[in-house]
């Protein structure tokens, strides 16, 4: 399966995302923010970091790049699965591809640690552990999004509404999450639950 990892100026988790995806069996290319077509790829990953320095607000400026226009076409044409991790999730929300927005953590501080989460996939619920690393990760949304949530904090670290850590779009082809599955693939201390997450993505791609 072919995956694209989008690199904006200021993105900084592209290497580990690529490494993790390759470990999980993907063919991975980096694509730049000026890319105009993503149709080659079964999945598109927006990885973590500080695109455009998180100026104005995190994820905001990336939404004006050609690759995000391309991404909208990609989603519209139902070509493959889109996944936004951390800053990628923020970008998807700013671009209104996913509902809601991410604002500063209740503590007003950056938080880097492992968190316990509830993963709901195909009607089954399971506890997993993934690391988080963000300052603006508090999810806010005033619509009813409950049915689209696939990942919830068990011990809400940042004040997210309804404990939301990750959710789908209405068509279930786009997923955004604040935790970093790509950091939970190789090292025992961060757990290996990231591998399971990427298996889910493969499943989603096959589901078509």
């Amino acid at each position: 399966m072919k995956a694209a990892v989008v690199v904006f100026l200021g993105t900084n988790c592209e290497t580990e995302t690529k490494r993790a995806l390759e470990y999980c069996g993907f063919d991975v290319n980096y694509v730049n923010f000026d890319t105009k077509n993503l149709d080659d790829y079964d999945a598109v990953f927006l990885s973590g970091g500080f695109s455009y320095g998180d100026y104005i607000r995190s994820g905001r400026l990336a939404k004006f790049t050609p690759v995000v226009d391309a991404l909208k076409n990609y989603i519209e044409s139902k070509r493959g699965v889109t996944v936004g991790i951390c800053n990628g999730f923020q970008i998807l929300c700013e671009a209104h591809i996913l509902k809601g927005a991410l604002v500063e953590n209740d503590s007003s501080r950056f938080i880097c640690k492992n968190t316990s989460l509830e993963l709901c996939y195909k009607g089954k619920k399971r506890k997993i552990i993934l690391p988080i690393a963000h300052r603006e990760g508090k999810y806010v949304c005033f619509d009813d999004i409950n049915e689209f949530v696939f990942l919830k904090y068990l011990d809400n670290p940042n004040g997210s509404m309804h404990d939301v850590a990750g959710l789908y779009d209405a068509k279930r082809r786009v997923m955004g999450l604040m935790p970093h599955p790509e950091r939970a693939v190789f090292a025992k201390n961060f757990g290996f639950d990231g591998r399971e997450f990427f298996e889910i993505i493969k499943d989603e791609i096959k589901r078509g």
């Binding site: 100026l9 200021g10 900084n12 988790c13 290497t15 580990e16 490494r19 993790a20 973590g48 970091g49 500080f50 455009y52 320095g53 998180d54 100026y55 503590s107 501080r109 950056f110 938080i111 880097c112 640690k113 690391p131 690393a133 300052r135 970093h180 790509e182 950091r183 693939v185 190789f186 090292a187 025992k188 201390n189 961060f190």
Partner: protein, 713 residues
């Protein structure tokens, strides 16, 4: 702009120039012959260091070789800027050390820091922590470790030492020397008036009125830095790039003159060609500006277009600002006129002082016989900010970005990073023992080295090299000179004895105000390696396992001067320091590695802060298990004696847990390793010698006492 060159130095300069300096040259020399750039008081002493086995110890950063890869690491101090403006000071400290690594074409992969504050100065703590968080996290370089020490000696004199680590194939390393017939290009942020005079500023005592000093603080932008890192690494791949140098202290002046000096060629700079953020800057301002996020390159003319295109892709500005040719002149042009023409050697070979201190004051060698009961001592220790978990700090720092981090902070003695490039692991730590150095700067420095050494060993790493940061008060003062000489001798001696080279470092003087000065503060950053994940050792013990102590046994006659418990419980600083035994240290290292190989060691920690009981508590908190055993060899000690035996700090000890008591005991006996059996990891109580503590109660204090104070403003 302030000029700070004294008469004696002016004479030295003019003697060598064989003429008077003009206005611009006064600025040039005030920066280049400052303590910060010129190492006037330290250069001779630093020559003592052992650099055998180090890669490029005289470059922007030195390193060690692991496989075919060069691992470069260096420390930087940003004490003065942080005292004035903690947020920007810390941020630009990180920015600066990243550039020193980057200049060698190494990709920065990890950051560490060593911080000292007075715990009462919350705004400094908060500002520095946030500065590191905002800057380091956005650059995408994992902030994997370090240390925080609190002591009122650092009131108004915070110590902020940062360290960066980078990786590059050895044959791809780029050096800083220019060659003749190159062009000089400046990449990055447009030069502005910020930070002008910073080098001179860092070379003097702080003014009592801080607002006067604020103009010298530089301002960082991590987003630009991230782009600069990527662009620089692309540029340095090109063949026609001859040399590279970061723009740090004394900005363009220092970087370009060094390039000419190292390359034994002339440089001519045309200041009209620079991209500026403000038009009406004087030549001195342009040369001395410490605007952040800039790199200087010496290039062959043919590659400039390619370099220009890389810059453009990263939305960075670049300009051709000068050229090199055969000779030894440093020439500054502006508005078509030559403003200064001086020999490069005179700029880059400042006068250096011989330190010949007279004997210094006697230190307090008195022992501490104060006492308190053990239960209250334990509770005080675990909730003291210096002993307690530094979670409040490291959770604000992204220690996992890059996906290389294998052991996060607190989980082991040293941070572990995987080099996916060659499948090795590196371990890194940063340590200092300022109170020990205050009591005896020679032994204290050795103890600091050994602390780092044991941190690496207890995490499974073979130590390879070290960097250091020497923070001192005014070097013109006799006591400070005396300490400086003893510290550098100690570091030279012990690094020779262990065959672990000093690869790089930094010196910061003038850490004093009118009313107070800091302890001699020696920070050591050490790096080691291991070959596979199985060799990594966490400071975590397993349930139902047996706990051994290996190494020295403490007794009532041991020298435990400077032990942390004495400060925490009695605000006492005194005593003699323990001396170290190198053969024992090496035997202990081998034992730990062997036991690990035989699967007889599940977790280990070096015995340091808080002595035997302090270290045991730390591991038990990490492991979330209780303990039952015997720590004292006799029940009849009085309280003072118990405190000494349980919390006293001596050299040469580790504790570890094993799943096989007999095999372990046999191994230790067979190999003549001194050991003591301590007890078993069980339950959720910590029980020894008739005392009992609740694990969770203590752990809660240990984990939260810092944030309970700092989050309350």
């Amino acid at each position: 702009m302030r000029l700070s060159v004294d008469k004696f130095i002016v004479n030295q300069i003019e003697k060598r120039l064989k003429r008077k300096m003009n206005e611009l040259e006064k600025h040039i020399f005030s920066a280049m012959w400052s303590e910060h750039c010129g190492y006037l008081h330290s250069k001779n002493e630093l020559k003592k260091f052992n650099t055998k086995g180090a890669l490029f110890p005289y470059e922007n950063s030195g390193g060690v070789k692991i496989g075919e890869w060069g691992i470069f690491f260096k420390t930087e101090s940003h004490n003065h800027p942080c005292a004035v403006e903690p947020y920007q000071g810390a941020a630009t400290g990180i920015g600066g050390i990243i550039r020193d690594i980057l200049a060698l074409n190494a990709r920065p992969i990890a950051l560490l820091n060593s911080l000292k504050f007075s715990f009462s100065q919350k705004h400094l703590i908060e500002g520095v922590a946030r500065g590191i968080s905002d800057y380091g996290n956005s650059c995408g370089i994992a902030n994997v470790g370090g240390e925080v020490i609190f002591d009122d000696k650092y009131y108004d004199l915070p110590i902020v030492n940062v360290m960066a680590v980078g990786i590059v194939p050895v044959e791809k390393v780029k050096l800083s020397a220019a060659k003749k017939n190159c062009i000089i290009a400046l990449l990055g942020s447009p030069t502005g008036p910020d930070g002008v005079g910073g080098a001179a500023f860092a070379s003097k005592e702080l003014a009592d009125n801080k607002s006067d000093d604020k103009i010298h603080v530089q301002i960082g932008d991590p987003f630009v830095k991230k782009k600069l890192i990527e662009a620089t690494l692309e540029i340095l791949k090109l063949d026609g790039v001859v040399g590279c140098q970061d723009c740090g202290a004394a900005g363009l002046l220092s970087s370009t003159s060094e390039m000419a000096y190292k390359g034994k060629c002339s440089i001519e700079l045309d200041l009209d060609k620079l991209h500026l953020s403000k038009n009406d800057l004087s030549a001195a301002q342009i040369l001395l500006s410490e605007t952040q996020e800039r790199m200087v390159f010496a290039l062959q003319e043919e590659v400039f277009d390619e370099v220009f295109n890389i810059a453009k892709r990263y939305e960075l500005e670049i300009s051709k600002i000068g050229k090199t040719y055969k000779g030894d002149e440093y020439i500054i042009k502006k508005d078509g006129k030559i403003l200064s023409n001086t020999p490069v050697q005179v700029i880059c070979e400042p006068y250096v002082y011989e330190l010949c201190p007279k004997n210094c004051n006697n230190k307090n060698e008195r022992e501490c016989f104060l006492q308190t009961d053990l239960s209250s001592a334990v509770n005080k220790l675990v909730s003291n900010p210096e002993f307690a978990s530094k979670k409040w700090f490291f959770q604000q720092w992204d220690y996992a970005v890059g996906g290389r981090t294998f052991m996060p902070p607190q989980q082991s003695g040293a941070a572990a990073l995987k080099l996916f490039e060659n499948d090795y692991f590196i371990g890194i730590c940063m340590d200092s023992k300022p109170r020990l150095c205050e009591l005896d700067s020679y032994l204290g420095t050795k103890s600091t080295f050994l602390e780092s050494y044991r941190n690496l060993v207890s995490s499974g790493f073979e130590p390879l090299g070290l960097t250091n940061c020497l923070n001192f008060a005014n070097p013109e003062n006799n006591d400070t000179q005396s300490d400086f000489v003893r510290v550098t001798s100690a570091l030279a001696d012990i690094s020779n004895a262990f065959g672990i080279p000093v690869v790089s470092g930094n010196v910061s003087f003038y850490n004093e105000t009118k009313s107070t000065k800091i302890y001699p503060t020696v920070t050591v950053g050490m790096l080691g390696y291991c070959k596979s994940e199985n060799e990594l050792i966490e400071a975590v013990f397993c349930k139902n396992e047996d706990v051994f102590l290996i190494g020295r046994k403490i007794n009532l006659n041991s020298n435990i001067g400077g032990s942390l418990y004495q400060k925490i419980l009695f605000d006492f600083l005194g005593g003699k320091l323990d001396t170290s035994n190198y053969e024992l240290e090496i035997a202990l290292k081998n034992a730990i590695f062997e036991l690990r190989k035989k699967d007889l060691l599940s977790g280990a920690i070096d015995v340091s802060k808080g002595g035997l009981l302090g270290s045991l508590l730390c591991v038990l908190f990490n492991s979330d298990i209780g303990f039952c055993g015997t720590l004292l060899d006799n029940k009849n000690y009085n309280d003072a004696q118990k405190l000494k035996l349980l919390f006293g700090e001596i050299e040469g000890r580790y504790i570890f847990s094993t799943n096989n008591f007999h095999k372990t005991e046999n191994y230790l006996i067979g190999n003549n390793i001194p050991f003591t059996y301590l007890g078993k990891c069980v339950g959720d109580k910590i029980k020894f010698d008739g005392y009992e503590f609740d694990l969770n109660e203590l752990k809660d204090k240990y984990l939260n006492s810092i944030e309970n104070v700092l989050d309350e403003f």
